[in-house]
């Protein structure tokens, strides 16, 4: 309660005080103008005080308006409504006040003008003239009478002044009669009141007039007991031959009190009228000034009150705006002070509650987001380290995530296409053909099935045929609809290959075991039959026997060779890796096939400073024999068969061996299974040559690939890891 009162005093007190004092001053000034002469001396002080006070109020008003302008430029919250309400209030107060001001001015002007009219002025002038005429006549009569007596009795007066003065005073009916010498010496006097008080002598100027022998008659005034007394002073200078010098007889005739009162009342009325008549213009000016100051003070005070009131009114709005601005900048810790327990206070309280709840919710969201991020990173780490390729798509089949394994499988950097519809990837300029077939296969499954699905898919990559196991599943969403898809891709090529190898090894082992054993008795039996019966038979029977037993022995030998090949394929002896100079190994083997009589032309293009490679010489020798034989067999029908063995190191620090022939080439579809057992379409051979070659390469942790087409050369490319860049020369040392 007290604080509210002090706040009110602080905000409105000074302007109330100044306005009240100035208004009081203006009231006093208006009273002074309306003839309150007791304060007349203070009028100028009040005028300047009021002007200064109004100046101060206007200064404060200008300052307040300037501050409003500054706040408007700064876009201070609530300033627009402050200016709008101030303008509205100013107009609401100013227009009626201006109208009242206008009419007040009119009334003042008309009122002051109505004080004066021609009749009154004429009447007063006539009355004054009448009084003046009457007094003039009376004065003139007294002058003539005195003058006549002085002419008649002048000599007697000079001779016996005391007696004559008394007599003449009675004769003239004067109140006082005095005889003066021109040197201002009083000779005799007589008074009606028989007093001994000397009469008041004429002034110096009158004696000057006496010396110039000029008469004097005038109505004069002297202070009386209650009021000023008016009297007629008549001075007649005269000279007598009997006496020397000039005398002057002064007669004082008292004007009757009744006449004096009437004359004074007429004079006072006339004087007041004249004064007011003269002051008419200045009065209007002064009242206009006072009224203008009242108007100015009222308006300035009203505007100042309005600005302060509106500022108070908009304080909560400014507070709220400050709060919302802070919140918009992300500061949720702000708390708005509540100064008033009104609707704005409730609003501010609600705002504080709202901000607190938003801050709480924001913290929870932030925490959740952090947890989600952690979870996301966790999942990303898992996905990245999975041995399976993972691709996720959103519900619109846009790529969302991928991992490195998926990139490696498809040889595509999927992270460059995050956010793109996977169908769009198929029609890009950079053309990703390896994906076209893949997405063609899985697209119907994605669109049709909401249940998990699996697909084994053979994929021809640039590194050879791959067998992929694709698992697909939908991802849930908040609305329990499909939120996306996850595709897990397992490269099972090696697994399948291992299974096949194992199967073939088992078959070979069984064949070797089941077939090899009966072959020797068959061969021995055939040879025994030939030996026993050859002597007993003759002629055609003998030739038939020889031919039959030769066939049996030849086929048994062939089968033994075949069984040996199966045995070699099935047996996986421990590889003895040692530092090997492969170039030298190649040269040793090539010598065996470089026969000048041979149809083919085997050339070598070996790199200098061949690096040392860890390898099993015996196995590699078998590998080179198989490949060279394969090349020789492939170029049997070629006119000028050429075989080249080339070695070099690639950027991946691998030792590369290329065995090229100019045979008819291998069909593209055959390249995928050429390394499988019994993949050869040749009539001769065991069908295990290239399968053994691949097995030996894999035993050396290398890779083998084939570049060939029906119209081109055939080139087998073998890549074997290099051992620490040790050159062959060092190895020899």
């Amino acid at each position: 309660m007290y604080s509210g009162f002090w706040t009110f005093l602080k905000q409105y007190g000074w302007i109330t005080l100044i306005s009240s004092v100035l208004m009081l001053s203006l009231v006093i000034m208006s009273q002074i103008l309306q003839n309150a002469s007791s304060f007349a001396d203070t009028y100028s002080s009040l005028l300047f005080f009021t002007l200064a006070g109004i100046g101060v109020v206007l200064f404060v008003l200008l300052k307040a308006l300037w501050m409003l302008r500054v706040q408007y430029k700064k876009r201070t919250p609530g300033i627009k409504i402050t200016i709008r309400l101030t303008l509205a209030s100013t107009l609401m107060i100013g227009i009626p006040t201006a109208i009242i001001f206008y009419f007040s001015l009119m009334f003042i002007q008309q009122g002051i003008n109505q004080w004066f009219d021609v009749k009154t002025e004429t009447a007063l002038e006539n009355a004054s003239a009448l009084v003046r005429l009457s007094l003039d006549n009376s004065t003139r009569d007294r002058l003539k009478l005195t003058q006549a007596i002085v002419e008649e009795k002048g000599s007697l007066l000079a001779m016996s002044p005391v007696i004559e003065v008394n007599r003449l005073r009675s004769l003239l009916g004067a109140q006082e009669l005095a005889l003066y010498h021109s040197n201002q010496q009083l000779i005799a006097f007589s008074s009606q009141e028989n007093t001994t008080i000397l009469p008041e002598p004429p002034g110096d100027n009158l004696f000057q007039q006496i010396r110039q022998k000029k008469t004097y008659a005038a109505v004069e005034t002297r202070p009386g007991l209650t009021s000023d007394d008016q009297f007629i002073r008549v001075i007649i200078p005269f000279s007598d031959f009997g006496v020397s010098g000039t005398y002057a007889l002064q007669a004082i005739f008292l004007i009757p009190q009744s006449m004096t009162a009437l004359a004074e009342s007429v004079a006072a009325a006339s004087a007041q009228y004249q004064e007011l008549s003269y002051l008419k213009g200045p009065l209007i000016t002064s009242f206009t000034l006072i009224l203008s100051m009242v108007l100015l003070l009222t308006l300035a005070t009203a505007v100042l009150f309005t600005i302060q009131a509106v500022q108070n009114f908009t304080t909560p709005i400014r507070t709220l705006a400050r709060g919302t601005r802070a919140v918009s900048k992300g500061d949720y810790s702000i708390k708005m002070p509540i100064k008033e327990n009104d609707e704005f206070g409730d609003l501010t309280q609600s705002f504080n509650d709202m901000i607190q709840r938003i801050a709480q919710a924001r913290n929870e969201i932030k925490l959740g987001h952090q947890q989600t991020e952690v979870q996301k990173l966790y999942l990303q780490a898992i996905i990245k380290n999975l041995t399976s390729g993972v691709l996720t798509l959103d519900m619109n089949l846009r790529l969302r995530t991928s991992n490195d394994v998926a990139n490696n499988i498809f040889n595509v950097e999927f992270s460059n296409y995050i956010g793109q519809h996977f169908e769009h990837l198929l029609y890009r300029d950079d053309n990703l053909p390896q994906l076209v077939e893949f997405f063609t296969h899985i697209s119907p499954l994605l669109k049709q099935s909401e249940k998990p699905w699996h697909l084994q898919y053979e994929f021809a990559s640039q590194y050879g045929q791959k067998i992929l196991m694709i698992h697909g599943s939908t991802l849930p969403s908040m609305d329990k609809k499909i939120g996306g898809y996850v595709i897990v891709i397992d490269d099972i090529t090696a697994l399948v290959q291992a299974q096949l190898n194992a199967a073939w090894s088992d078959v070979a082992r069984r064949l070797a075991h089941e077939i090899k054993n009966p072959l020797t008795p068959i061969q021995l039996s055939a040879e025994r039959l030939q030996f026993k019966l050859e002597k007993e038979l003759g002629g055609q029977s003998k030739a038939l026997l020889n031919r039959m037993t030769h066939t049996i022995i030849e086929q048994v030998t062939t089968m033994k060779t075949l069984v040996q090949a199966f045995s070699d394929y099935a047996n996986t002896p421990e590889v003895l890796l040692e530092e090997t100079d492969i170039n030298q190994l190649i040269i040793d083997i090539a010598v065996m096939y470089q026969d000048p009589m041979a149809k083919w032309d085997l050339t070598l293009a070996l790199m200098e400073d061949c690096p040392v490679v860890l390898a099993d010489k015996a196995r590699l020798r078998q590998l080179f024999h198989n490949l060279v034989k394969n090349a020789i067999e492939a170029t049997e029908d070629t006119i000028l068969p050429k075989i080249q063995i080339r070695t070099y190191c690639n950027e991946q620090e691998q030792f590369v061996i290329e065995i090229r022939d100019n045979g008819p080439g291998i069909a593209e579809e055959a390249q995928n299974w050429i390394f499988e057992p019994y993949a050869s379409d040749k009539p001769k051979g065991s069908g295990l040559g290239l399968a053994i070659v691949r097995k030996i390469v894999e035993e050396h942790h290398g890779q083998i690939s084939l570049k060939s087409s029906p119209e081109m050369d055939t080139c087998f490319i073998i890549k074997i890891p290099i051992l620490n860049n040790i050159t062959s020369s060092k190895a020899h040392e």
Partner: protein
């Protein structure tokens, strides 16, 4: 904020400049007086320094009209006797005597007598014409200033005199006119003269 204050101070300075310009103009108008000293003389009389002065009053028509409309006019007479004293190369002035009084001039009665009322000695004198009244008003005859014993023969003395219409004592409605209209600016200005040191002092 600083820029705002500068702009505000700039505006304030502009208004102050305008106010000073207005004051300068007003003071120029005030300088036009119609009161002149025709004679100023100090006289030693009965071991007293007395002043004799003749002042010519030329009242503008508006002022005369005001008198004829029963407006009282107060003339302020200021007389200052200054003692000038050099000290350490600087000159100091000391007021030895200061006289200030008002003489009221007004018309009275139906016969329109002109009355002079001296507020100092409360003497009232009536005249039939304004000219006589002004002549009397402008005559200072043997006005005693100071006893000679109070003055030092070796010092320099200056007498300053000024007669002006006291517009602050006009009727209140006339105050604004008196501030703005030049015909109310009746002021002789300060007249100063050095007092000749009598030989008897030496």
């Amino acid at each position: 904020m600083k820029k705002t204050q500068d702009s505000f101070l700039l505006s304030l300075r502009f208004f102050l400049l305008m106010f000073l310009f207005f004051c300068a103009q007003t003071s120029l108008v005030w300088a036009k007086g119609a009161i002149h000293f025709s004679e100023l003389k100090e006289v030693i009389q009965d071991q007293k320094l007395v002043l004799n002065a003749e002042i010519d009053f030329t009242l503008p028509e508006e002022v005369v009209s005001a008198i004829h409309h029963d407006i009282s006019i107060l003339f302020k007479t200021e007389i200052i006797l200054l003692e000038e004293k050099p000290l350490l190369g600087m000159t100091f002035e000391r007021v030895r005597k200061s006289i200030e009084y008002h003489t009221e001039l007004y018309a009275y009665g139906v016969n329109r007598y002109y009355v002079l009322y001296n507020h100092r000695n409360h003497k009232r004198q009536t005249f039939q014409t304004l000219k006589e009244a002004l002549q009397t008003l402008g005559t200072l005859q043997a006005l005693p200033l100071i006893n000679l014993v109070e003055l030092h023969p070796e010092q320099t003395y200056f007498l300053k005199i000024r007669v002006s219409l006291n517009k602050w004592r006009l009727p209140p409605p006339l105050l604004i006119d008196s501030l703005l209209e030049p015909y109310w600016q009746l002021d002789s200005g300060w007249q100063s003269f050095k007092i000749r040191t009598p030989k008897s002092w030496r």
